[in-house]
């Protein structure tokens, strides 16, 4: 009988072993129990396990899996209960020895909670065998027990009890094997799925597309089948969410009529806690939440329970079985989805649909591995997407900058100077290229380089604050402010980036709430114009290309400003050149006109002379002819000198020693000539040599002069005096000495209030092409080179031209100052 039983047992044992070898579900442990039950001729068999590691804290046995022979063709109602200390099974485990009970209920255990159930199921006897985990040390004690029940009056025989004692220890071994099989199978299945071509990330389709969601749904289904759980969900942190809230992305959730929480803030509930703390969570039974809360709080401190969710009610509705507290353990597992140390979300599952009715550390480890695979897959997807998005952003940035360059080119062609108007588009382009940037600002240095004034802003930071705040943030930044990244970037003409602004003074600048900032100089070469600031709000981080974009944009803006500056400069030079050309053209026209008129008139005078019959008429024509020839000569000499000077050829005066009386004689001749032939007799200008001349009391004074050039200068001055003096006034020529005879001067003074010379005009009047302002706007004839030539002639004499602005008596004086003595240049630097 014993041999026969052993052979039967050995043969039947192959059945569950094979079943385990093929199984991919942990719930197949029921099949194992069924095989063992039959071998022992029992009506029922239950695997009792100790709850692990103190959850619940008052450790107890609970029914992990069970198998009962149907009663009257109806499946037996599951026990689904815990064994409190005062029960036969507890006793067996506590004593770590198999027990056999002949008749139940056993009066030795009056508080046995199974009593009613056993009566209901008609159980009359049972035996219980304590079990251990494989490779467990003896000191670890029993893991639980396997109970064998019988309804018949005949109790378990000694052999059957022995068989039970032999077979029961196999159950944990097979359960362990089942878990291993299922784990490897699940991981392999998910690995294959996530690495299949269909699941390969395709950013072109966009994220959270049908492809991605379908893949996740398949993963969840696989997890559900392996764990035999009711609910399995993936929650992810939104990429642009700064608060770390996780949102439901995919779920297997049978409570269709109940709403599942769509999101969890950091630390809120077990799911939010798992996401924010990156901590795996394993709760044995949420059905006994109130009892176990102290222990849960101890294990997972600071959980925020503000989101109410009664899992027990929900589970009861779904399971549609059990009443009161008759529910299997509502176990809960949550594993963080992590990629390269960054938490992306949470994978969670809860409530077993059938045996085993609990999730323990083994399942949690498996869930963490699955979450790891999801994390790796999502991370790769995110990185690929980010890389592509950055490529797109950069392309967009480059395109925008190209467009801006086009505008700058057009502006340059159109000679526009305002290149600052390109700033808004440029900042917008940078903002598009760096989506993590929440605020951009451009500051330009003031002309005195003391402050950086706000020039342009862009980004979300400027749209979420009041106008008063905007005004405050746009205040100038002092370049003397210590520790400011703006000042540092501008002063050093270098990019400054910092991720921690907590201890910096930068909080006073445009983005006080910034977590990080990149400041690039707006410059072109060594020319500095200002700074560009790109700020990142918490918990934003600086991307790799932020510095590059900031640096490029800073240079770009600098280039625009440099272009504007250069264009302005070129334009001014062009205008100056045009003015010079115009002045030269006018001078040419003027000289042409001034030359033609006396030549024409001289020709006419000559013609008259030839046609005159009497001497009186002839004599009358001679001064006129002489005057016109003198005018022509004066113009020709001016043209020649102007031409020579324009080509850098200096004037070489032919100097001779000239005493004052000789000079006076020369002056008188010139004055006489002008009186005889004035430019416009109708103006009534009279020329005279002042009475106080000559200075014959200066016998030792000798000036070395070119008298021809002196005539030229005097003619120019007298012509000017006649043109610009008031009608019917006297132009006075004087001669005198200065600095005790070291300098000799000849002055021409005219009276006139309509053409006056200011002290400012006097400084530049002798420049080439310059004429007195009032002379210009009075439309006076004149080339503007007369005084220039006079000055150059005097310089060649080591002398100088002194112009005395019109005084209160309306007298304007031009003084030709010569050195006295031999021409050795000793006076060149003498004082007046």
């Amino acid at each position: 009988m014993t041999m026969e039983l052993d052979l039967r047992a050995a043969g039947s044992l192959l059945q569950p072993v094979f079943a385990v070898g093929k199984s991919r579900q942990i719930s197949d442990i029921t099949e194992v129990l069924c095989s063992i039950r039959r071998l022992c001729s029992a009506d029922g068999c239950i695997l009792w396990l100790w709850t692990e590691q103190g959850t619940p804290s008052n450790s107890r046995l609970f029914a992990a899996a069970e198998d009962f022979e149907p009663v009257n063709g109806q499946p037996a109602e599951p026990l689904w209960h815990y064994l409190l200390p005062d029960s036969p099974s507890t006793c067996a485990v506590r004593e770590d020895a198999p027990q056999r009970f002949i008749r139940l209920p056993d009066e030795r255990f009056p508080g046995d909670p199974d009593r009613q159930a056993m009566v209901r199921l008609g159980i009359r006897s049972f035996c219980t065998v304590p079990v251990r985990w494989p490779n467990a040390l003896p000191a670890e004690g029993a893991l639980g027990a396997v109970n064998f029940y019988r309804r018949s009056e005949e109790p378990f025989s000694e052999q059957e009890f022995s068989l039970a004692k032999s077979l029961a220890p196999l159950v944990p071994l097979l359960l362990d094997d089942l878990i291993n099989h299922a784990s490897f199978h699940l991981l392999r299945q998910i690995f294959d799925l996530l690495h299949s071509p269909a699941a390969l990330p395709n950013p072109d389709l966009g994220f959270w597309t049908h492809q991605v969601l379908r893949t996740l749904q398949t993963v969840l289904t696989d997890v559900q089948e392996t764990f035999n759980c009711l609910e399995c969900s993936v929650y992810m942190i939104k990429r642009d969410a700064a608060d770390g809230t996780i949102h439901l992305v995919s779920t297997i959730w049978p409570w269709r009529h109940r709403s599942q929480p769509a999101s969890y803030a950091p630390g809120v509930g077990l799911t939010g806690y798992c996401g924010s703390r990156t901590t795996p969570i394993c709760i044995f039974d949420l059905g006994r939440f109130e009892e176990d809360l102290p222990h849960i709080r101890e294990k997972y401190p600071d959980i925020d329970w503000s989101v109410p969710f009664d899992l027990k009610v929900a589970a009861r509705e779904v399971l549609t079985k059990g009443s009161g507290d008759k529910l299997p353990p509502l176990s809960f597992l949550a594993a963080p989805i992590v990629d390269h140390g960054r938490t992306l979300g949470v994978l969670r599952c809860c409530v077993a649909r059938s045996a085993p009715y609990y999730f323990n550390q083994r399942q949690l480890d498996l869930l963490c591995l699955v979450a790891g695979l999801i994390g790796e897959w999502c991370g790769a997807y995110f990185r690929l997407r980010l890389a592509q998005e950055r490529r797109v952003w950069l392309q967009s940035y480059v395109r925008t900058i190209s467009a801006l360059n086009g505008r700058a080119h057009e502006a340059a062609v159109g000679h526009k100077r305002d290149f600052e108007s390109l700033f808004p588009k440029a900042l917008e382009a940078a903002g598009n290229a760096l989506p993590e940037a929440y605020g951009l600002a451009a500051h330009l240095a003031s002309s005195d380089n003391r402050t950086l004034r706000f020039a342009q802003g862009s980004g979300q930071a400027w749209t979420t604050i009041s106008s008063k705040e905007i005004q405050r943030r746009q205040a100038p930044v002092s370049l003397a402010e210590p520790g400011s990244p703006l000042v540092e970037a501008f002063s050093g003409n270098t990019v400054v980036s910092t991720g921690d602004l907590g201890s910096s003074n930068y909080r006073l600048s445009p983005f006080p709430e910034a977590a990080g900032v990149v400041v690039a100089p707006i410059s072109s070469g060594s020319r500095k114009y200002g700074v560009l600031t790109i700020a990142f709000a918490p918990p934003g981080t600086l991307s790799e290309q932020a510095v590059t974009v900031a640096e490029l944009l800073g240079r770009q803006l600098g280039l625009y400003l440099f272009l504007g500056e250069t264009i302005t400069e070129l334009r001014e030079k062009k205008e100056e050149l045009e003015r010079t050309v115009e002045v030269q053209q006018q001078a040419f026209e003027n000289l042409n006109h001034q030359l033609k008129t006396p030549v024409f008139l001289a020709r006419r005078a000559a013609r008259h002379l030839m046609s005159r019959k009497n001497l009186v008429d002839t004599v009358r024509e001679i001064p006129r002819l002489n005057g016109q020839l003198r005018r022509a000569e004066q113009v020709v000499t001016n043209i020649r000198m102007f031409y020579d000077l324009a080509r850098g050829r200096p004037i070489h005066p032919n100097r001779t020693a000239t005493r004052p009386e000789k000079l006076l004689e020369r002056l008188s001749d010139t004055v006489r000539s002008h009186n005889l032939f004035s430019l416009n007799p109708l103006r009534g200008i009279h020329f005279t040599v002042a009475d106080e001349s000559p200075r014959l009391d200066l016998p030792n004074v000798v000036a070395w002069l070119d008298l021809e050039l002196l005539d030229q200068m005097l003619d120019d001055l007298l012509d000017n005096a006649e043109k610009y003096g008031d009608p019917n006034t006297v132009v006075t020529v004087r001669m005198g000495v200065m600095a005790r005879g070291q300098w000799l001067y000849v002055s021409v003074s005219n009276y006139g209030k309509t053409v006056s010379i200011t002290s400012q005009a006097a400084k530049t009047l002798a420049e080439r092409g310059q004429r007195g302002d009032t002379a210009v706007w009075r439309g006076q004839e004149g080339s503007g080179i007369g005084l220039y030539i006079v000055r150059e002639i005097l310089t060649a004499h080591h002398g100088r031209l002194e112009i005395y602005p019109t005084n209160e008596q309306n007298i304007t004086e031009f003084r030709l100052v010569f050195p006295t003595g031999p021409p050795d240049g000793s006076h060149e630097n003498s004082a007046h």
């Binding site: 006109h593 024409f600 008139l601 001289a602 006419r604």
Partner: protein, 153 residues
């Protein structure tokens, strides 16, 4: 009928009057001389009848406001090189001289003068350009031609 001579050079003005009076005795004592652009503006600022047989107009004219004060912006901008063109424009706008023959008499380049007249969109009807020279004959011929024209009485 009066002849209007607009010429800023005193001596040239005398020459022109002398040459034309000698060559065409009927013009003797008919000359009314204006010597600056400012005088011209003062003369033509109203709409009073100003009847002239013909007008001889120099181009380069000074403003020469002896009483002081700033000249009009166009004078400041255009300068004295274009003064004659401004005067011609005003002559053509004035009801009395709209069709009076004008001889533009200048030492400036003729083509340049014509260009400036066209630029100002002034009609060339009744306008003759005679370059200044040492020979009085071209101007005398131009005046004679006007004298024989039926429009000049």
């Amino acid at each position: 009928m009066k002849t209007l001579l607009i010429e800023d050079d005193y001596y040239f003005g005398e020459e022109i009057v002398g040459d034309l009076e000698n060559a065409i005795p009927s013009l003797k004592g008919s000359f009314d001389i204006i010597r600056t652009e400012q005088q011209f503006k003062e003369r033509f600022q109203g709409s009073e009848p100003l009847q002239f047989g013909f007008i001889i107009l120099d181009v380069m004219l000074t403003w020469d406001n002896q009483s002081g004060g700033r000249p009009p912006a166009e004078v400041v901008k255009g300068g004295y090189f274009e003064a004659g063109i401004r005067c011609l424009k005003q002559l053509r706008e004035h009801p009395s001289t709209r069709s009076t023959p004008v001889i533009v008499h200048s030492a400036r380049d003729t083509d340049q003068i014509l260009q400036n007249i066209l630029k100002e969109r002034i009609s060339m009807d009744g306008v003759t350009v005679v370059p200044k020279s040492g020979d009085p004959e071209p101007l005398v011929s131009a005046v004679r031609q006007l004298q024989t024209s039926p429009d000049v009485s």
